[in-house]
């Protein structure tokens, strides 16, 4: 097995790593990319028929789980169709998350859908290149997406267009070290312990009681590079930077 497993090597290495890992493992069904395995869920066929150019590819993962890769520009349109078409009726958005494979590869935004009446599951994925981490919000379709998208924004830096309240959710709002679940984010954070402590001590708790928190909420502007401009916000820490829209 190659040594750079955890760190995510460059893209050509990936195939080798994957092949090495499979060696000696159960002969799992080969999950070829281009739809060689017929989909389990009839929604995949219907989706391909409805959006011939919106659906990029589909595959079957873990034996019986259908994954559909779609054009990231049409995510709201396609998911709305899945939600509202009577035959599909994916009314339960189980999860929104993202996957960073590292090595400069695009970040995948993953929507896990479940249809309560049809009892069928579908996983929809969109790929976003690191220099254009922006996608349409689906809060207009499922209100439950609100916090899930905020979490993806917080931890991956994916900007959701049209989200009503796109702020950090798990990390503090003045967190300036970037987006922790990115592969290029070191486990211990970007700043030294001393710097992290200093920043924690200089926080003004009164900031968090500002009426502005409840009143007008301006979505933060997200830099669209891997090296985002969150550091710029650090200077505003403790100075009541709650509602600042343009921090760049």
């Amino acid at each position: 097995m190659t040594s750079d497993l955890g760190s995510g090597g460059s893209a050509p290495d990936f195939g080798l790593v994957a092949a090495g890992g499979r060696k000696g493992h159960d002969p799992a069904p080969d999950t070829a990319e281009a739809g060689n395995v017929p989909p389990v869920n009839p929604s995949v066929t219907a989706l391909r028929r409805q959006f011939p150019d919106g659906v990029l590819r589909n595959r079957v993962c873990a034996g019986d789980q259908d994954v559909v890769h779609i054009d990231s520009g049409r995510v709201a349109e396609i998911l709305r169709w899945l939600h509202e078409t009577p035959d599909q009726h994916y009314d339960h958005l189980a999860d929104v998350t993202a996957v960073d494979h590292g090595g400069g590869r695009p970040i995948e935004v993953v929507y896990q859908l479940w249809s309560i009446p049809q009892r069928s599951a579908l996983r929809v994925k969109c790929e976003l290149p690191l220099d254009a981490l922006e996608i349409e919000s689906v809060t207009g379709i499922w209100q439950g997406a609100n916090w899930l998208e905020r979490e993806v924004y917080d931890l991956f830096g994916v900007h959701f267009r049209g989200h009503p309240d796109l702020r950090r959710i798990l990390m503090p709002e003045n967190y300036a070290e970037g987006h922790p679940l990115r592969k290029d984010f070191p486990l211990r954070g970007r700043f030294s312990r001393a710097e992290q402590t200093r920043r924690a001590l200089t926080q003004d708790p009164e900031d968090y009681y500002m009426p502005g928190e409840i009143g007008e909420r301006t979505p933060q502007v997200v830099a669209s590079g891997a090296d985002d401009g969150d550091e710029a916000k650090a200077s505003g820490a403790g100075a009541g930077g709650e509602g600042e829209a343009d921090v760049l």
């Binding site: 097995m1 497993l5 955890g6 995510g8 990936f14 790593v17 994957a18 092949a19 090495g20 890992g21 499979r22 000696g24 493992h25 159960d26 799992a28 999950t31 993962c61 873990a62 034996g63 789980q65 994954v67 009314d91 339960h92 958005l93 189980a94 999860d95 998350t97 996957v99 960073d100 494979h101 590292g102 993953v110 896990q112 309560i116 009892r119 599951a121 996983r123 499922w142 209100q143 439950g144 997406a145 609100n146 916090w147 899930l148 979490e151 931890l155 950090r168 959710i169 798990l170 990390m171 503090p172 922790p180 679940l181 984010f185 486990l187 968090y208 009681y209 009426p211 928190e213 409840i214």
Partner: protein, 425 residues
């Protein structure tokens, strides 16, 4: 689907008590015409260090008099970046992280995680392991609901049910300790099996617990279900319709209280849940009182499943007999070289997972607990994601509580049954 509606023993008129006696309802009409005084709203900070927030949740509440205008939850006080930590650990090492998320039902988290990884790796566990995990999960469902019941009753102002519930919880703690050596941080599952086989006499202890629990539930039922204060404070509070509940992503008892019979154990059965005889209780009003009734009934149904699982627990191996997954026994490791090398290689190299992703969800005590694991062919995950049921359930709290009184906000928060370790992760 075999689901049943909970029968109410109580009239739903908030002005009337259980036997037609008038109840002093704490809920004043909200739509009373307000005189134009040009009044300002007031900001009240609830938590993060407040017992009624059930952890380190902070709610910034905007109040108009006593009426909640808006609620802004603030999270992250318990954030431990478990998902990031998981990317630096092998598949088996992650098990210890899972029970620290929901310390109220650690075994459900242990099981859900390994089930997802086993699905990803294409491992089929043994029959004994399946039934043992069902016992663990149902026991912890009761374990978690009992804590909810205790804190819920404290929030409503009743202290006795709390003591009764915690007396029973203590028995589950003892069973946890007998099974795993730890009372809360159980870490009992491994890929392809369990940490160890069930200890001797353990099933007898579980049976005793399951036998004794209904009497306690009856007692608490008698104290709360028809209690005028309890009824008055919870009926009609925090109601949400079925469509809205689904749209907000509510799952578990919170969704079923609104009348949607979605239970992962029935809709997407795992571990032969389809062959167990149990019912999914649903409510029809979607308010706090229905959530209470649904959870009370769920505990009784879990007792039924426990009895059936204990009856069918087969003999045989607990772990998968596959040298690529399961460790050799400690005695073998200490006595022959090959087993020791085998042990060493499994521990140092880990178990490789295919370069695929897998979503697996179970019916946790708080709702649909999803695990999303992405492998890259190596022994560590590229991504390990938990779909935290409490997180999504809590996101509906502004919708549920706006327009209610400040005191109702506490009950609504209690009725959602959240655990902050899992919300913040």
């Amino acid at each position: 689907m075999s689901s049943s509606t909970v029968e109410y023993a109580v009239r739903r008129n908030p002005e009337m008590g259980p036997h037609g006696k008038p109840v002093a309802s704490p809920t004043e009409p909200f739509d009373a015409p307000e005189p134009e005084l040009g009044s300002q709203t007031m900001l009240v900070n609830v938590g993060p260090q407040h017992p009624a927030t059930h952890g380190v949740l902070r709610l910034v509440v905007e109040l108009d008099g006593e009426t909640v205008v808006s609620v802004v939850p603030r999270l992250g006080y318990l954030h431990s970046s478990f998902e990031k930590l998981g990317e630096y650990r092998t598949w088996n090492q992650i098990v210890t992280l899972t029970d620290r998320m929901d310390y109220l039902a650690p075994l459900i988290y242990n099981c859900a995680y390994v089930m997802a990884v086993e699905k990803l790796m294409g491992i089929e566990v043994t029959e004994r392991c399946k039934v043992a995990r069902v016992i663990c999960m149902e026991m912890d469902r009761i374990f978690s609901h009992l804590l909810w019941l205790g804190t819920w009753s404290i929030d409503v102002g009743a202290f006795t049910p709390f003591l009764y519930a915690f007396q029973q919880r203590e028995k589950v703690y003892t069973l946890h300790e007998a099974l795993t050596g730890a009372r809360i941080t159980t870490s009992s599952t491994r890929i392809g099996g369990m940490m160890a086989d069930l200890p001797e006499g353990w099933t007898k202890g579980v049976r005793e617990f399951a036998d004794n629990l209904p009497a306690t539930l009856d007692e608490i039922d008698g104290l709360l279900t028809c209690n005028a204060i309890h009824v008055g404070r919870t009926q009609g509070i925090g109601a949400i319709s079925a469509e809205e509940a689904v749209n907000h992503g509510l799952t578990g008892a919170n969704l079923r209280a609104s009348g949607v019979p979605y239970d992962v154990r029935k809709d997407r059965p795992y571990y032969d849940y389809g062959s167990y005889d149990f019912e999914v209780p649903i409510g029809c009003h979607g308010d706090c009182y229905d959530r209470y009734l649904v959870r009370m009934e769920e505990m009784r149904q879990s007792v039924r499943i426990l009895h059936q699982a204990l009856d069918r627990l087969p003999d045989g191996p607990m772990d998968v007999e596959d040298p690529r997954i399961s460790l050799p026994s400690k005695t073998d490791c200490m006595s022959d070289m090959e087993s020791m090398i085998h042990h060493f290689k499994l521990i140092t190299e880990g178990i490789p997972a295919p370069a695929e992703d897998c979503w697996f969800s179970v019916e946790g005590s708080k709702g649909e607990l999803g695990m999303y694991v992405v492998g890259d062919g190596g022994p560590k995950p590229v991504r390990w994601r938990i779909r935290p049921p409490s997180f999504v359930n809590l996101s509906a709290i502004p919708k549920l509580s706006e327009g209610h009184l400040m005191a109702d906000l506490i009950m609504i928060n209690a009725s959602l049954d959240i655990v902050l370790g899992e919300i913040d992760r």
